[in-house]
Amino acid sequence: MAEITNTKLDRMRYTKDKRSSQMVLLAIVLNVLYYVSIYQQDHPVVKPISADYPYYSWLIGASVILNLLFLLIGFLCSEGVKGRRKGYTGILLFLGVLQFVRIFYLPAKAHNSVYSETVKNAEGVAEVVTKKVMTDGQYAFAVAMLVLSGLLCIGAAVNSYINNKKLADYMKSVEA
């Protein structure tokens, strides 16, 4: 056997890339937090449902599917990068970018939507008031979750790529 020139790198031949894997798992957890918060409504059911109301449309089904896919692919990537398989870094980058793109879709759309409510003012006169479907606080939380989740995916991909590159270079030097 060739002499071990760099123990830290040599260890990578036999150990798993746990850091990258754990980053992806954390990204999945944050995505779940985003998802469980996104359909929360702090106001009574909107009546009548306006045409631009974001939730009760085909979007709700698509978002369920998208989140399930994220969970599945994210977990596969977590296992993939743990085993130092190169192909998963590209998929992780894609997942990371996707999390950022999603911000401009459902949360932003819900945040920009409004509904009307008739309330009596101080003089007892009925008045139509316009309110946001998604509150600012809820929107900020959802965006933060998606941003962090996306950053973790990209970070895991970069970390995995750097480690794999270092290991490949080391293996070349060992074999040379």
Binding site: M1, I4, T7, K8, D10, R11, R13, Y14, T15
Partner: protein
């Protein structure tokens, strides 16, 4: 490495069954001791007491002079290799070997060096990234040994490590353990019921039966001068043959033969005049001659030797005897073979203890 002292060890279980009686043994630094005996003789219990997996009912256990009788297993600095390997199936070989050190939170770089060193010793470098299920039984047992080596323990304990292996792997792994012992010069306690393992591996053998130590000695001592009938029958393959003989004057009389004692035998058996003693002869101590006759019931050719089984006497009504004759023999059933014995042992029929005869 370490010296080990087992002083008057006894094990009594909660149901009052006593598994080990007054076990005494001093193991020197770097010595390989094999505990051998049939199933249920207390050898594994003794080993588990040393490991700390069983409480010691009575007695003391010292490692390097320090009393560890009541110390928990984790504080004894002992590594144990089990018959069933006890590897973690979901971990790679590298992870299995590194596991105990990882639990101790040792420096990962140091762990790596130790694992690689152990893997090189055991020839496991190519297997480090595999899972245990991808390895053969012999390789798995080497991994189990590797896991012990990386810890650099004071004492290695082996509990029938080769019992799960087929005959070929067993002999190969046995040689590896022998080489490992020489290389590490480690203090080892090894339990087996296989006397071939005991004879080939041991610096000293402890032969046990029914919880009692029958004899402690080198392999040659146990083979050549067994302390009693049990040791004589247990050590050696095929086992020793036993015949009742009556001591009368300078004669040893069996219904199927009469022998004249030499001076040393006569001196040793003087106090047994008129009594019956047990004469033991190993199969390999027979050769073609004129002292007794054997009626053949089976003939097994092994190439270099032939095992000839039969009953004493031309009529085949005497004791059952197995002989190991040199060369290729072709005896048929009911053939009568004339034999002589070139080495005999004698045992007291009542106490079963050996009667010492000067050689």
């Amino acid at each position: 490495m370490a010296e080990l002292s087992l002083q008057h060890l006894e094990k009594i279980y909660d149901n009052n069954v006593q598994a080990v009686f007054d076990f005494n043994l001093d193991v020197k630094d770097g010595e390989l001791i094999v505990l051998v005996g049939p199933s249920g003789c207390g050898k594994s219990t003794t080993l588990r007491m040393v490991a700390g997996l069983e409480d010691i009912t009575h007695g003391k256990l010292l490692i390097n002079g320090k009393d560890v009788t009541a110390a928990p297993a984790k504080d004894r600095d002992i590594a144990m290799v089990f018959q069933n390997y006890a590897l973690y199936g979901h971990m790679t070989i590298y992870e299995n070997m590194a596991f105990s050190l990882t639990l101790r939170k040792e420096d990962p770089n140091l762990i790596h060096k130790k694992v690689i060193a152990a893997a090189e010793i055991l020839g496991l470098m190519e297997q480090l990234n595999k899972k245990p299920s991808q390895l053969s039984g012999g390789q798995r047992q080497r991994v189990a040994m590797g896991r012990s080596i990386v810890r650099n323990p004071q004492v290695f304990l082996f509990d029938e490590p080769l019992s799960n292996l087929d005959a070929k792997l067993r002999s190969g792994t046995r040689r590896e353990i022998m080489l490992l012992h020489k290389r590490l010069n480690a203090t080892m306690l090894y339990v087996t019921h296989d006397q071939t393992e005991a004879l080939t591996l041991a610096d000293r053998i402890v032969c046990m039966s029914m919880g009692h130590v029958q004899q402690i000695g080198t392999p040659l001592e146990l083979y050549d001068t067994p302390a009693n009938l049990f040791v004589a029958s247990f050590i050696g393959l095929p086992p020793m043959n036993f015949m009742d003989v009556e001591v009368k004057g300078d004669k040893l009389i069996n219904p199927n033969f009469t022998l004249t004692m030499n001076d040393k035998e006569a001196k040793a058996l003087a106090q047994y005049q008129g009594k019956t003693v047990v004469m033991g002869v190993r199969p390999e101590n027979f050769e073609i001659g004129d002292e007794l006759q054997l009626k053949v019931i089976n003939n097994e050719n092994l190439g270099m030797n032939t095992l000839v089984h039969g009953h004493l006497g031309a009529d085949g009504k005497g004791e059952r005897i197995t002989t190991k004759l040199h060369g290729w023999c072709d005896y048929k059933i009911d053939d009568v073979v004339s034999l002589k014995m070139n080495r005999k042992r004698f045992f007291d029929k009542e106490t079963t203890n050996a009667i010492e005869v000067e050689v």
